[in-house]
């Protein structure tokens, strides 16, 4: 057992070494190939040759859209949890704020009757989500550790309950006829229609790439160094002159902004938003996805978010001994997580730094015993 694990580990390390040692053009070529693959993926002409990858029980293109939204959310939550080390259990709450901002300002069923176009509301949704992040963060980020987790959990529940019971937010009836993103084909048919999910997926994919570039630049800057130092040792960070509160708030607000963007995209695609879209479970799934993939690593967050969202959908339509596996998806998901945390607590594709922190903590535990 151990030897197998060791071999897997050394194999993966070797792969990592080869990746880092490869010439620049090889890495670029691979990256371009991967991106091209994902752009091509929702086309039936392409995915029908991919064997077991397309989902049997659901429209694969729709699934891809859902997966892409989860990936975007995972990239955003990774800033908060992975880089700054703040445990946010209510991240989906920000997603809800983004989606509802769009719904309230664009839908004809809204009391406001503003009926603004989707594109105009997107920056507003992002801004408002960011603001809600700052409002939530200002009193709570002065506290440390577990408090934040509880407060964020409460925040997400507050948003959900407000959505369920407030007359203004329409509860289960929800908002309909939320406008789609703009754009027309040459023949006058809208680019973002009802039936074809591909354009939405491409839009989210493009935004993911842009967000990842932005986040990457941020993490290689002074801001990123400050976040990492806070995660590793908040007292020491402050003793080095890092304004910790300010940077924690920044991480929180940037993460929230990305969730707001995801919410706005979701609302524009679904055309309909109601209170059932924002269960607490979603927050947990995204957090699990980030940790599963390797928190603190952008690639890890992407892989984690993608795999987790895809795995859950993949169970649809599979029968085993007469039971539909989809019914047991969370059982299986939970099992995978438990096994994962035992054998690889740092995630699938960990940050090298993060792996060192884990070793350090383990050493501390041993010393303490």
């Amino acid at each position: 057992m151990t030897t197998v694990l060791e071999r897997v580990r050394s194999g993966r390390e070797a792969a990592g070494e080869r990746w880092r040692g490869a010439p620049r053009w090889v890495r670029w070529a691979l990256l371009v190939a991967v991106i091209a693959f994902f752009y091509a993926l929702p086309n039936k002409e392409f995915y029908q040759y991919l064997g077991p990858i397309p989902t049997p029980g659901a429209n694969f293109t729709q699934v891809l859209f859902t997966v892409s939204i989860y990936v975007l959310l995972a990239v955003g939550l990774n800033i908060v949890v992975g880089f700054a080390g703040l445990l946010d259990l209510g991240y989906f709450g920000f997603f809800a704020v983004g989606a509802y901002t769009v719904a309230v300002l664009t839908s004809p069923s809204s009391n406001l009757k503003t009926l603004w176009p989707w594109l105009l509301v997107v920056p507003l949704a992002i801004g408002l989500t960011m603001l809600s992040g700052v409002m939530l963060g200002t009193p709570t980020l002065r506290l440390r550790g577990d408090y934040l987790a509880i407060v964020t959990l409460g925040f997400a529940e507050m948003i959900r309950i407000a959505a369920v019971s407030s007359e203004f937010l329409k509860g289960q009836r929800g908002f309909n006829q939320i406008p789609h993103p703009p754009g027309k084909y040459a023949d006058g048919k809208p680019f973002f229609g009802v039936l074809d999910a591909r354009p939405y997926y491409w839009l989210v994919l493009t935004l993911i790439i842009l967000v990842v570039i932005g986040v990457r630049n941020l993490t290689h800057s002074r801001v990123g160094r400050a976040w990492i130092s806070i995660r590793e040792d908040e007292d020491a960070a402050q003793l080095m002159g890092v304004p910790t509160f300010k940077f924690k708030l920044w991480a929180f607000a940037s993460g929230a902004a990305i969730a707001g963007l995801a919410g706005a995209l979701f609302a524009g695609k679904q055309n309909f938003v109601n209170s059932q879209n924002f269960e607490l479970l979603n927050s947990i799934i995204i957090l699990a996805a980030v940790i599963f993939g390797g928190s603190g690593n952008i690639v890890g967050a992407i892989v984690g978010g993608g795999l987790v969202a895809y795995m859950i959908e993949r169970f649809r339509g599979i029968e085993l001994f007469g039971v539909e596996l989809y019914e047991y998806r969370f059982l299986i998901f939970g099992l995978v997580l438990v096994v994962m945390m035992i054998f690889r607590p740092e995630g699938l594709i960990p940050n090298r730094r993060r792996a060192a922190e884990f070793k350090d903590r383990r050493k501390e535990v041993i010393v303490g015993e």
Binding site: R222, S229, E232, D235, A237, L239, G241, P243, A356, K359
Partner: protein
């Protein structure tokens, strides 16, 4: 006076950890703060660096009251602490740790100069510059913590138990380095359990007992003080 602490009290919840402490540090000095476990030495350091808010009294740095100033702003004024024990960033390499020490600075040339100086002071760190901080030995981590604090080019360097958990030879070495740092122009306030070494090198020292200062004098005076000898130097 570079640092003046006047009648400072500090509370941990309902427990009073410091009872009206007053001390001063003049420019160019090495001042030692000695005392037993739990006497309030590290707490005094935390109060000075701003990690813990004080309840009463005042802390003045270069004549200005910094009692209410945030910790990171105190660093910008030139007051930097090397935290006790494992206060380094375990996932960052030695160089990245040192780089964090210079976080408040933007003068690249000066930073490079100080980096060379720190690596010169601690050749062990130079050998391990690419290694993650968490994988260093206890002594090396201690050196890294001191070196990192130096990278901010502080006017006052606060050292919390620099000799903790080190082998005797290393203790000797780290105190020699502290002396050297001081001779190069940095004022040092030092908290130590190893009273012998600290008093031998300090210009002045304070003895702390259960949150109060009970004795003060030059390092040499205290080193020969019978009560101090009995309590802290292990000689009857």
């Amino acid at each position: 006076m570079l640092l003046e602490i006047d009648d400072v009290s500090l509370l941990y919840g309902r427990i009073q950890a410091l009872h009206g402490i007053s001390l001063t540090v003049a420019e160019g000095e090495i001042v030692a703060l000695i005392g037993a476990n739990g006497a309030g030495k590290s707490t005094t350091m935390r109060a000075i660096s701003g990690i813990r808010p004080i309840a009463t009294g005042s802390i003045r740095f270069e004549g200005e009251d910094i009692s209410k100033l945030r910790a990171d702003l105190r660093v910008r004024r030139g007051l930097c602490q090397a935290p006790e024990g494992r206060g380094i960033f375990p996932g960052m390499s030695v160089l990245e740790n040192l780089d964090m020490g210079a976080y408040t600075r933007r003068d690249r040339a000066g930073i490079a100069e100080d980096l060379a100086r720190v690596l010169d002071l601690f050749p062990r760190l130079a050998e391990r510059r690419k290694q993650a901080g968490g994988t260093l030995s206890g002594g090396e981590q201690q050196m890294l913590a001191v070196g990192r604090a130096l990278m901010s080019r502080p006017k006052l360097l606060l050292l919390d138990e620099p000799s903790m958990g080190l082998a005797p030879m290393l203790i000797q070495q780290i105190f020699d380095i502290i002396k050297e740092i001081n001779e190069q122009g940095t004022t040092v306030l030092l908290v130590e359990q190893n009273a012998q070494q600290a008093l031998a090198r300090a210009h002045r020292a304070y003895v702390l007992e259960t949150g109060k200062i009970v004795k003060t004098g030059t390092g040499a005076e205290l080193l020969h003080d019978p009560a101090v000898k009995e309590a802290y130097l292990g000689v009857a």
